[in-house]
Amino acid sequence: MGSSAKSSSPITTHVLNTGDGVPAARMALSLHRLDPRMAIWNLLTIGNTDEDGRCPGLITSDAFTPGLYKVRFETGQYWESLGQSSFYPYVEIVFSVSDADQSCHVPLLVSRYSYSTYRGS
């Protein structure tokens, strides 16, 4: 994936470990899009967050069409790698994109026993 694609992914995320007050680095995640006719989720991208808790290059502008998307964050594995248990084995955020001209920032603020997300910019 070229650097231009990475800097212009219309879907971005940022994972923060609010329990420790640090970015959640090296968390596995995946992006999926719903095929409405088949009613199944198509896997588009898998990756890991970097040291800053971000995962550039999730999707290209060309591939970014209106529809239902899902980001699955492997939070359970993340906490396990830190030697801790967690209430949530994973987190899935399902969101709706109606206008593919707009960017979508889907952050995750996560601790062992809570998480939150919002539509950001």
Binding site: L68, G76, P89, V94, S96, T117, Y118
Partner: protein, 137 residues
């Protein structure tokens, strides 16, 4: 009969009618509409348990939140075994009924019950463009 006796009679009558009350569900939820500062009323929710062998979700309960955003009777103590559960909140339909769109067509919270003797509270704080959840009491 004096007034106090009259009132006491009413209270005792109510208690008799509710003899067969079921114990509260060990798993509870509470939906708050944080955008409007009100409970999330009349939201459809469903509770599922993961079958670890087939990796399929088994539907346990469906219900709607009441005027306080709660949904009593989600599960009985007998059915509440250790495992992975999923609570699905129909957030898109909720906001649609209020004449608004929502970024999230639904919210699924997947959580692990390791000790089924404990009580678990899985609330959802929701607006059109954000939500949060936590393990409460």
């Amino acid at each position: 009969m004096n007034r106090l006796q009259h009132i006491r009679g009413h209270l005792l009558a109510d208690k008799n009618m509710n003899i067969a009350t079921t114990p509260p569900s060990p798993l509870t939820t509470h939906v708050l509409n944080t955008a409007q500062g009100v409970p999330g009323v009349n939201m459809t929710i469903s509770l599922h348990r993961l079958n670890p062998i087939s990796s399929e979700w088994y539907l346990l309960t469906t219900g709607k939140t009441n005027d306080d955003g709660r949904c009593p009777g989600l599960i009985t103590k007998e059915n509440f075994i250790a495992g992975v559960y999923k609570m699905c909140f129909e957030t898109g339909k909720y906001w649609d009924a209020l004449g608004e769109t929502c970024f999230y067509p639904y919210v699924e919270v997947i959580f692990t019950i390791s000790d089924s003797s404990q009580k678990y509270h899985v609330p959802l704080l929701l607006s059109r463009f954000s939500y949060s959840t936590y393990r409460g009491s």
